[in-house]
């Protein structure tokens, strides 16, 4: 079974060190790991470093893999493309990855399977430049799945999807991780998704790893206050899963500052909205 462990991992852009000292326990096939942290924390940088796209100190220990360098697959966050290529061709491109010109039945069967699993067979022959953001993200997912990776790094794979698609895709990834013995690391901003679909969580902030462990143990009100600067509680839903309720922004946080005229402050709408509890998107 494939395993991955990071040891003192760092990443550089030129001379600038953007990530340092990231060390994790060993994750093994079937594990789904949430990589969480605020914007610009270093999540994408970590993925690129693990995928070998950025230089830096440290070691990525991969054991038990069958496909050599191709065992790690990185799905980037940016899915924008204006190429005159159909979805089907773009997935075929991912499948071939620079191999010869010939396309065999096995390649086409895997593509059909991925498109069907993601429910995008109907857009298979539309150009990717004409798709909506969500459709592009699903096409990008199909490109990732046909590569049949053993270790999958997904950078915010559901950020453009509607709620039902988010749940379906994350459920699919969890099932595929179990069925194929794949390690899946997913960068997520929706922490309820992390609690629901991920076994483990690693928290990145300021280019460093600040916490790592089972998701329910890591995603706590204390962590939310420390990392995200929000006051929140975690309640158990009817399925026995943790669910985050955000009560407000912590007093010492960096909030959005917007000049509001004094005459505006007393208005009823504003009074109602102040201190009102916000529920993080339910899943």
């Amino acid at each position: 079974m494939v395993t991955i462990r990071l040891e003192s991992l760092g990443a550089r852009y030129g001379r600038k060190l953007l990530l340092e000292g990231v060390a994790t326990p060993k994750f093994q096939g079937g594990d789904v790991v949430a990589v969480i942290g605020p914007n610009a924390a270093g999540k994408s940088t970590l993925f690129k470093r693990v995928a070998g796209l950025l230089p830096g100190p440290g070691i990525v220990h991969v054991e038990g893999n069958r496909k050599g360098r191709d065992s790690i697959c990185y799905m980037p966050q940016d899915t924008s493309a204006n190429a005159v290529l159909t979805v089907y061709e773009s997935v075929l491109l991912a499948r071939k990855q620079g191999a010869g010109w010939s396309v065999d039945e096995e390649d086409l069967a895997r593509i059909d399977e991925a498109l069907t699993a993601l429910g995008i067979s109907d857009i298979a022959f539309r150009n990717i430049g004409e798709l909506s953001g969500g459709q592009r993200q699903l096409a990008s997912l199909a490109q990732t799945l046909v590569r049949e990776p053993e270790i999958l790094l997904m950078d915010e794979p559901t950020s453009a999807l509607d709620l039902s698609r988010q749940v379906e895709v994350l459920g699919l990834m969890r099932n595929l991780a179990r069925a194929r013995g794949m390690v899946v690391l997913i960068a997520l901003h929706d922490l309820n998704h992390a609690l629901r679909f991920c076994d483990q969580a690693i928290v990145v902030a300021g280019g460093r790893l600040v916490a790592c462990g089972p998701a329910p143990d890591i995603i706590t009100p204390a962590l939310l206050r420390e990392i995200y600067h929000v006051e929140a509680r975690i309640e158990t839903c009817s399925h026995g899963l943790g669910h985050i309720i955000v009560d407000g922004v912590a007093a010492q946080s960096r909030t959005f500052a917007w000049h509001v005229a004094e005459s505006e402050i007393g208005k009823p709408d504003r009074q109602r909205s102040e201190g009102a509890a916000m529920t993080v998107q339910a899943s």
Binding site: T79, E89, D112
Partner: protein
């Protein structure tokens, strides 16, 4: 859950596979059609001139040269053939160069013109024509094309050197190319300002681009470069296609993006510089050939690459026909014809096209 159902469901596979096979078949037919059109255009190009021949006679002269009168054989094989074939090879080379420039720079306006390669070549040629300056003194017999080639490669080298600097984006390269265009155009104007009246006429004629400069040795060199570069691009067809999905995505497929871009840029410079050196500046092909190919066949480089070559060759060959047909007895410089006839055709194609081409 839907996802669990999806993973265990019996997958309906025939639809996608069948449609893809049909798509590939259609594209092969389009390529065959382009090839046939090119062959027809080549025959018409050979038939036209001061002495006009029937298409049947041209085909007979091509297939069985001994079966036609010697005069026809000499005119077709020795006078018209190098020019007609030069149109095909130069058109293909410029179009492929433009196609790969647009691919690696992710910019629909990229072409040998945009990056200043053609402008540099014009300046190099003008130096030779106006002042007899030989940038490589040993090659005095071919001073004009050698000067043009050296300047074109210098422009390309400058772009290479600046583009390897850290933090330089593809947008910067395109802007740099535009700056080079203006710089070399200003230098060309300066040469023209100081040139004698005869030299000025020669420079102006050269910059219009003309296939009548074609000879068998020039054709052989251009064909050799095209034949050497095309297989390299063909081998990298998947990687070049992947580049159009974005840098991050291409890198995630294991492609060394910076290296691929750099090597392609160098090959493209060579591919653009050689024809420009031999026949002058023909700007329209490198921009439009790839766009037409993209519109009719998409950007899978396994098809896009031959389609670009064929469409560029076809446009220039057809322009060669038009340059002889517009005013009987007069052969217009090909650069003028491609613009006058090609651009309205291109605009109508863009406006009537139902498929988004960029």
């Amino acid at each position: 859950m839907a996802s669990e159902r999806a993973i265990t469901a019996t997958v309906e596979t025939a639809g996608g596979r069948g449609r893809y096979r049909a798509l590939v078949w259609r594209r092969q037919l389009i390529l065959a059609g382009l090839g046939a059109a090119l062959l027809f255009s080549l025959c018409v190009d050979l038939a036209l001139g001061p002495a006009r021949y029937g298409l049947g006679e041209v085909v007979r002269a091509l297939l069985t040269p001994d079966a036609v009168p010697q005069q026809v054989r000499v005119v077709l094989w020795e006078i018209r053939m190098p020019v007609a074939l030069m149109a095909v090879v130069v058109g293909a080379a410029l179009s492929v160069a433009g196609a790969q420039m647009q691919t690696i720079l992710n910019n629909p306006l990229a072409s040998p013109f945009t990056l200043g390669i053609s402008a540099a070549a014009s300046f190099g040629a003008a130096l030779a024509l106006a002042f007899g300056v030989a940038l490589i003194p040993a090659a005095i017999a071919y001073v004009v094309p050698v000067n043009a080639f050296v300047m074109a490669m210098l422009a390309a080298l400058l772009i290479h050197l600046l583009s390897v600097k850290r933090g330089v984006t593809v947008e910067t390269i395109v802007l740099l190319g535009i700056a080079l265009v203006f710089t070399f155009n200003a230098l060309l104007a300066l040469v023209q300002f100081f040139a004698s009246a005869e030299a000025l006429a020669a420079v102006v004629f050269w910059t219009m681009g003309s296939l009548t400069k074609a000879t068998w040795p020039k054709l052989a060199v251009t064909t050799f470069v095209l034949a050497a570069v095309l297989p390299v691009f063909a081998r990298r067809a998947w990687a070049l296609t992947a580049l159009r999905l974005g840098e991050d995505k291409a890198a995630s497929f294991g492609i060394k993006v910076a290296r691929l871009r750099m090597e392609t840029l160098m090959l493209v410079s060579l591919l653009a510089a050689i024809p420009v050196a031999f026949v002058g500046t023909i700007g329209f092909i490198g921009l439009v050939g790839p766009h037409i190919a993209r519109m009719i066949i998409g950007e899978d480089q396994r098809f896009f690459l031959p389609a670009s070559a064929l469409s560029g060759a076809l446009i220039l060959s057809a322009s060669s026909v038009a340059s002889k047909s517009l005013v009987p007895g007069t052969v217009f410089p090909i650069g003028i014809v491609t613009s006058l006839i090609g651009i309205p055709f291109f605009i109508s194609l863009i406006l009537s096209g139902t498929r988004r081409s960029w």
